[in-house]
């Protein structure tokens, strides 16, 4: 890691250069409520001080909602061709919590088998992170995801009159050397940065009592009344999964064009909250009720990967809380389990 300083007066120039030199993705105001990561052509479109988490997490850049995987042509011989898209892009203005979400996806798509459709894009993505005020529903601090240790090339932290840059890769270093007027960080810069981080952490108001949840989950597992109450209003709409930066479930579909010659395999985001998720041929459903499904979601987020690899599949971004029209709230539910255990 290299630590550098970028003066505020040089910031605009740096970003403008990046916009003109690269395919540049950054947060832009989408409507009265939300920001979204979209291609930016003009600095004026860029707005990194968004109050709410972006509508779709940045995973859409690497793992799009729908993505063609394989193309084939059927004739006397069948020709099969993988469809792998990748071009160099800068992702600018992503916060620490979302970077941690992306790190989780990196890990999922590289364990056991490497998902080339994901990694071709990931390798070419230059990530420039930037802190922003945590949103109301964000509990990243409790999840240990408020700070990004890796997964980025450059990370910008705004101090009073300057940006404190953490440069994690040689690519990040190349870019700053080439496009920014930077200097080395001094002791006082580090001191200010440290103070900033303390202050930053104190801004996370929402706390989840996650300690030992993977054990508590066993405690609550068979409490049917609890799950019935918790999932009573659930629409099985999957919104909670689909907006989540760490949810990675997908369906694979085959489609043939009307000429019956050319077809493809594609994948699309799926959700474990949808009844069909657990349905197999012959009609058996492994998770037929919304109680089963909510249980599965919490288990997957907060237990499965802890048991197996010591990781949570949740970075505490709070998008699911925001998205759920049934007001099903992961923080409240986990905290209430804690209360029941200790009562």
């Amino acid at each position: 890691m290299l630590y550098k300083i970028l003066k505020k007066e040089n910031y605009t120039d740096f970003v403008e250069k990046l916009i003109s030199e690269y395919e540049f993705i950054g947060p832009k105001k989408k409507d009265k409520v939300f920001h979204d990561f979209v291609p930016i052509k003009d600095l004026r479109e860029l707005d990194t001080d968004y109050k709410k988490t972006t509508i779709a997490p940045a995973k859409k850049l690497l793992f799009p909602p729908t993505e063609e995987l394989v193309e084939y042509e059927v004739g006397d011989v069948i020709k099969v061709k993988p469809l792998v898209e990748s071009s160099e892009k800068i992702l600018f203005g992503i916060d620490a919590c979302d970077i941690n979400g992306m790190n989780f996806m990196d890990w999922i798509f590289s364990t056991e088998f490497i998902d080339e459709n994901y990694f071709a894009k990931r390798r070419k993505l230059i990530v420039i992170g930037k802190d922003r005020e945590p949103s109301e529903t964000c509990f990243a601090l409790s999840m240990g995801a408020e700070y990004a240790k890796d997964g980025f090339d450059i990370f910008l932290t705004e101090l009073e009159d300057r940006y404190f840059l953490r440069i994690a890769t040689s690519k990040g270093n190349e870019i700053t050397e080439k496009f920014a007027r930077i200097q080395d960080a001094t002791d006082s810069d580090f001191r200010d940065y440290d103070k900033f981080m303390d202050d930053y952490r104190s801004k996370f108001k929402l706390k989840i009592n996650i300690d030992n949840f993977y054990d508590d989950f066993e405690f609550i597992y068979s409490n049917e009344k609890y799950w019935e109450e918790a999932s009573k209003n659930c629409y099985s709409c999957g919104s909670c999964n689909l907006v989540c930066p760490t949810c990675f479930c997908f369906n694979v579909k085959d489609d043939m064009q009307l000429n019956l010659k050319v077809g493809n395999k594609m994948r699309e985001w799926d959700s474990c909250m949808i009844p069909e998720y657990g349905l197999v041929a012959g009609g058996h459903n492994f998770r037929p009720t919304k109680e089963n499904r909510l249980k599965q979601r919490y288990r997957c987020k907060l237990k499965t990967f802890v048991d197996k690899y010591g990781k949570y599949a949740c970075v505490g971004c709070g998008r699911c809380i925001e998205a759920c029209l049934a007001k099903i709230n992961i923080v409240e539910d986990v905290n209430s389990v804690k209360k029941e255990v200790s009562a």
Binding site: V70, F113, I126, V127, V252, K265
Partner: protein, 286 residues
Amino acid sequence: MVLDIKENKSKSTIYVPDIATIKKVEKLSPIEKLFTIVFDDPKKQEEFSFRPGQFVELTVFGLGEAPFSIPSSPNNKKCFQLCVRDIGNVSGALHRMDAGSKIGIRGPFGKGYFPYDKMRNQNILIVAGGLGLAPVMSLIDYILEDRKNYKELNLVYGALDPESIIFKDRVKEFEKRKDIDIHLTVDNTDASWKGNVGVVTKLIPAIECVPEETFAVVCGPPVMYKFVVKELEKKNLRPENIYLSLERRMECGVGKCNHCHIGDKLACVDGPVFSLWEIRNLKEAI
């Protein structure tokens, strides 16, 4: 972003199937057929090796993909077989196909594996229901080909009715052989049937086995497991020695799509065969 992940030099991805040809189609029952399959690329055919219990993802182009266990013996390098029940899109399309048709194959996937190494010099009790005989066929063949290294081999097999018995010729062959004891039962009988009637669990108590020296393998429809496990536990078999092949919905077969999650396990990469001990605390598993 510099990642540890190596650049992919091959022209393929995990989602690209290899083209194969159906060489032979045999009808096993009113709804099950046995397909003999050979890869078009001879090199791929040669390299294709699998363990009993593993499965492949089969593509019918334009229709979709579905997982099927391989019932043929791993020792057969010239071709492999799939036993498929006509139940949905892909399986239905397969049933309409004749010898010569082209399909796509990815795999083999899954850890497998029936622990045939650990099973050496042990008694083996296989409980199969319906189509569940297909995945264990590979194991049976494997053991029969190496018979001297195993002790008692019992196969309990239950089918819906006499017509639904799959691998009828093999079952007849087993009945004649001395080195495998087969216990057959059907749920619904017809006039021709002289054997047992009822669910498989009924036959288990009568089978004698030494608990510490017996491995059990169970494969069948989801509803069967709970009851069979109960019977096996009554026989004091160790949970570590009871193996179950679990079915879940699968979209990718390579641990990405997450549909086959059971607790902290994925049926595709960690299974689909698990010991009872492994899954006892996974909840929802059986």
